[in-house]
Symmetry: C2
Subunit: 246 residues, 2 copies
DNA sequence: GCCAATCATATGTCAGACGTTTAATTGTCT
DNA sequence: AGACAATTAAACGTCTGACATATGATTGGC
């Protein structure tokens, strides 16, 4: 392996890229051990700190893991869905908060994608998924629940719905779309009446999924999306009105 | 800011987490400059290389960018959708290849999610999107195209369809689902007849999207999903048969 | 008043060292 | 011979101090 020392610096980035490419192309297999830091620094003809910076980069993406001790070193990591969830959620959340994504846009994306897995969820839902969905719907009907707790439960409900589709790839992709909405949802103040409406829809969705009725679930999600959007719009209108009288 | 020096090592991970939390909580705003490495090393009471490892971790996630020179330093990065695409694709691709995800599972996820944006795409498609879709469909009909080039064009076609939904959040989420399929698709050998069928469906999809007929597009995607699955199954069957006669 | 040389600052990189963790090896005792 | 304890070696984790390089700001001369 070689590195371009004349390119204007950022050797650690080049090294990270070289190793990442080796992993993605299959030259390095899962659980295979990389050379030690000392060996890598010799191979790439750079110092050990530079190699370490490169390895930290890869570690941040969960591409490698490191282990101390005699048989330690850096190993190609088997990227698990659970590990990827966290990164996906972090990235999605920041994307929304840093790019002035409107509530409407994020909401549309979330419900469009969620609707896609309604038929699969209706087909494959287990008792576990149903129980989670009903438990969260029940929690949402408790009086005295803070808005934040209501949102958290809402996210849990929808994740159960997504997971019911029993497709890990879908669960992974939607983790970001569902969870990243939470900060946006937290801006909404839920009145008793709006909560009642949402809980009713959640309950109906659980019913539809239990009855293996994907079309009904899809339809209810459309209603829920419209209602959520309506709530958000009223918050925005109220804020604009308040600003006008300032 | 403080760090637990007694926790069994991995100081750089702790520092990275502290800074990441500060960014996500809004304590550090976009384009805000972090203290210099020397200052950070003093604040956290660690050496500069340790601080640097932490910063590289954050850089790998595109949370910060660094700049050399007098007014340089580390800045909170505005995470852009385009930057996130790459990471999303890398992660998705590795997830599929490292977790024995079956072709059927990945295919189901991709088409389920893609179907979700068919109505939006049909509603909002621009001339640009249509032109791209038709150009790719035409390319796919060229004889002498390698299987790999065929797959690349297939991905481009579907990305155009997704982008036509004009929702950056959807485009981001589906970038992974669509692109990560390519390595799996590359295992398929496309006969002249199967290509013909796929191109016909692609053309019909473009027609439906042009006619603002979301339902028709959805229906065609279902057919395309079924056909793709059928092709993959025949490859698997052929392979099993070959193994049986070995 | 403008332009060029200088300076200050901050990141990028290096060399060498020491501490710590961990597994394998070795050695001793029963 | 076998089990347990001490030693050793390999590797990562961290620190110190230094030099190289990029780049904006300052200063000085014309």
């Amino acid at each position: 392996m070689k590195i371009d020392h004349d390119a204007k610096s950022d050797l650690s980035a080049q090294i990270a890229k070289a190793i990442r490419d080796a992993i993605m192309s299959g030259d390095l297999l899962v659980d295979e051990r990389l050379p030690s830091e000392a060996e890598l620094s010799e191979q790439f003809d750079v110092s050990r700190p530079t190699v370490r910076e490169a390895l930290k980069r890869l570690g941040a993406q969960s591409l490698i893991r490191t282990q101390r001790g005699a048989t330690g070193g850096a190993f190609v990591n088997r990227l698990r869905f659970e590990d990827a969830y966290g990164q996906q959620i972090t990235t999605s959340t920041l994307l929304l908060s840093m790019n002035d994504v409107s509530f409407a846009t994020a909401c549309e994306a979330r419900y469009a994608l969620e609707r896609a897995c309604a038929p699969l969820a209706a087909e494959r839902r287990t008792a576990d998924h149903l129980a989670t969905m009903r438990a969260e719907a029940h929690r949402q009907s408790q009086p005295g629940l803070t808005d934040e707790a209501f949102c958290t439960s809402d996210v849990a409900f929808h994740r159960a719905l997504v997971d019911a589709a029993a497709n890990p790839v879908i669960s992974y992709q939607l983790a970001g779309a569902v969870e990243a909405m939470q900060p946006l949802m937290n801006m909404i103040t839920f009145t008793a009446r709006s909560r009642e409406r949402i809980v009713a829809l959640h309950t109906q969705i659980a019913d539809a999924v239990e009855a293996h009725d994907g079309a009904a679930a899809e339809n209810l999600l459309i209603q829920l999306a419209a209602y959520t959007l309506e709530l958000a719009q009223s918050v925005i209108d109220a804020r604009n009105a308040a600003r006008a009288t300032d």
